[in-house]
C-alpha cells in the first residue's frame, strides 16, 4: 500500500513535536553545563545561554577545593557500592524461594512483603525506631533500612518465573539442592535483570537525601545530595550581589552549577548502559501475581 501524501506530512509533524519534547528535556541540563564552564564575568553579564562563554574550568577547581565536598563524593561512591551489593544479595534471597510453588508459608510470606508497599509506619515512628536501634548518626542507617525494595523483588521474581521449570527439574534430578540451582541455573540466566536492579539500587542511593537529612546530623557522613542541598541554599549569590550593586566577581553561581554537575555526571555515565535493560525491568514489575 502506498502511503498517502497526508500520511507523510503527519509523520513529519509528529517527529517535530517529539523533537520539542527532546529540547524540553535537554536544554535545562545544557544550560547548567554551559554555566559551569563559563567565566563568572560572563555569567554576571547574563551572556551565557546554551554554550560556554569565555570557557574555563575555574568553577570546577573551586568546587574541588572544598575538601568536605570531595570527601562527600568519595563517601557517597563507597556507600553506593556497598548498598548495591547488600541490596542485590537480599533481593535475590527474597525473590528466589518464591518460585517454589509448594513451599509452605509461601503465600503468607509473599503477602507480608507486598503489604509493606501499601502500608508504612510513617516518618516519626520510623525515626523513633532508628533512635531505639541506636542508628542515629550511624552510617549503617544509610545502608540497612532501605536495602530491600519490594518493587525490585517483584521484578526479579517475575523474571525467575520466565525461566522454564524443566531447567530447574533437570538440575534437581542431578542432585542439586536449591542453593546449587540458584547459583548454577538462575543467576547466570538473570544477568541482565540483575544489572538493571543493581543500577536501580545504585541510582537510588546516589540520589538518596531524606534519610541522611533525618537520621545523620553528623556532617562527616553527609552524602552528596545533602551537601548539594546546602550549597544550593547558600544565600550568597550573584542575585544578592547585583541587588546590592556589587559587580565583584562572585564565583558562587558557577560553583553551584559545577556542584550540580558533579552530582549529575555519574548518573549520566551509567544511564546509557542502564536504559538498555530497564524497560524490560519495569514491564516485569507490572505483573503482581
Amino acid at each position: 500500500m502506498v502511503k498517502s501524501r497526508k500520511r507523510k506530512i503527519d509523520d513529519l509533524i509528529i517527529a517535530a513535536v517529539c523533537f520539542l519534547f527532546i529540547l524540553i528535556c535537554l536544554l535545562p541540563m545544557v544550560n547548567i553545563l554551559a554555566r559551569s564552564l563559563s567565566s563568572s564575568q560572563a555569567m554576571i553579564n547574563n551572556r551565557v545561554t546554551f554554550w560556554p562563554v569565555e570557557f574555563t574550568w575555574e568553577s570546577y577547581f573551586y568546587v574541588l577545593q572544598d575538601k568536605a565536598f570531595v570527601r562527600s563524593l568519595w563517601w557517597t561512591a563507597l556507600l553506593t557500592l556497598i548498598c548495591t551489593l547488600v541490596s542485590l544479595t537480599i533481593t535475590i534471597l527474597a525473590a528466589y524461594p518464591l518460585i517454589y510453588e509448594n513451599l509452605k508459608g509461601r503465600r503468607f510470606y509473599n503477602g507480608m512483603m507486598l503489604l509493606t508497599m501499601y502500608f508504612s509506619a510513617g516518618t516519626i515512628p520510623n525515626y523513633l525506631l532508628m533512635k531505639q536501634l541506636n542508628l542515629i548518626d550511624n552510617p549503617l542507617v544509610l545502608i540497612i533500612p532501605n536495602c530491600l525494595s519490594i518493587f525490585n523483588m517483584i521484578i526479579l521474581r517475575s523474571f525467575f518465573h520466565t525461566v522454564p521449570d524443566s531447567l530447574r527439574e533437570s538440575a534437581q534430578l542431578d542432585g542439586a539442592g536449591p542453593l546449587n540451582v540458584l547459583v548454577r541455573v538462575y543467576l547466570p540466566l538473570s544477568k541482565p535483570v540483575l544489572a538493571t536492579l543493581a543500577l536501580f539500587y545504585a541510582v537510588g542511593r546516589w540520589n538518596g537525601f531524606s534519610d541522611a537529612l533525618m537520621y545523620v546530623p553528623n556532617p562527616k557522613y553527609a552524602p552528596i545530595q545533602l551537601k548539594l542541598y546546602q550549597i544550593i541554599n547558600n544565600r550568597s549569590s550573584i542575585e544578592t550581589a547585583q541587588q546590592e550593586g556589587f559587580s565583584a566577581p562572585v564565583a558562587s553561581e558557577g560553583l553551584k552549577s559545577a556542584s550540580v554537575m558533579f552530582a549529575t555526571v555519574p548518573i549520566l555515565l551509567v544511564y546509557p548502559w542502564l536504559q538498555r535493560y530497564f524497560i524490560t525491568g519495569v514491564t516485569l514489575g507490572a505483573i503482581k501475581e
Partner: protein, 309 residues
Amino acid sequence: MKPKRSGRKTLLYLKRTWTLYLMLILPVAFAVIFRYLPMTNISMAVKDYNMFKGVWASPWSDPLYKWFDKAFKTKDFWLALRNTLMLNGLDLIFGFPLPIMLALLLNELAFRRYKRVTQTIVYLPHFLSWIIISGMARQLLAPRTGVVNVLLGKAGVGPINFLMEHGLYVATYIALGLWKEMGWNTIIYLAAITGINPELYEAAEVDGASRLRKIWHITLPGIRSTIIVLLIMNMGRILGSEFDRPYAMQNDLVMKVADVLSTYVYRVGIRGFQFSLTSAIGLFQSVVCVIFLFSANALAKRFGERGIW
C-alpha cells in the same frame, strides 16, 4: 501409623527445603524490623512522649485523642493538608493524562531509530534527584541571571520570579514534576500498546480508518485497563506525600502554598521534637490514604476492571 508417616514426610520436606527457609531469614528479618516493628511506634499518637522514658514507658495521653484534637486546632496543619491535596490534585490533573498522550505520540512516530533516541532522552530526567532538579531550577529561573528570564527579557517580558510568588511557585512545582516523570510514565503505556493485537490495525487499515480513528477505537481501548489501574493507584496517593520534592523547592516566601504534610511533620516533629503531635498527623494521613485506596479500588471493580488486588 498415620502420624508417624506424616512425621517422616515433614522431615523429608524439610530436608529438601531447609536452605530455602534459611534464605528467607534475612528478608523476613528486614521486613519485621524495619517495616513492621516501627508500626508499634504509631502508639506515640495516643501517648505523651517523654524522651527519657522512651516510647513504651511514656504515659497515655488524657484524653486519648488529645494530639488529634490539638492537630485539628493548628492552623499550619490545615494549611499543610490543603497544600498536599492541592499539589497532588494538580499533579493528577496534569501529570496523569500527559504521559498517555506522549505514549500515543511516540507510538505513532514512524522513524524507529529516532523513536528510540526520543525515548532515551525523555526517560532521563526520571533519574535525576529532586535536589539536582531544584538546583537546576533555581539557576534557570533566577529573576536576573536565569536563562529563562534573560530570554524573556529579550522578548520584553519580566523579570518573573517563578519560585518566590505563590501562584507561580505552584505552577513551577507542577511543571517540574511533569518534566521529571512525564517521559518515564509512558513506559507502562507503551508496553501495554505492544500487547494489542496487530490484526486489529490491519483490519482498520483495510476499512480505510484514519490515524485518529485507529487511536480512538483500537489503541485507547487496548490500554484502557492499564489506564484505570494507574489512575486508581494515583488517586490512592492523593494524600500521600513525597518529601524530597517539596522540601528541596520550598522557601520562606512561599511556605503558605509550599508546606505539605511530609515537610510539616519533619519540621515540627524531628526538628521541633513534637513527636506525639506529628505521629497523630502521620496516622491521620495514613488512615485517610488507606480509605482512598480502598474506595478507588472498589470503584475500579465496579467498572469491571481488575483493580490492584
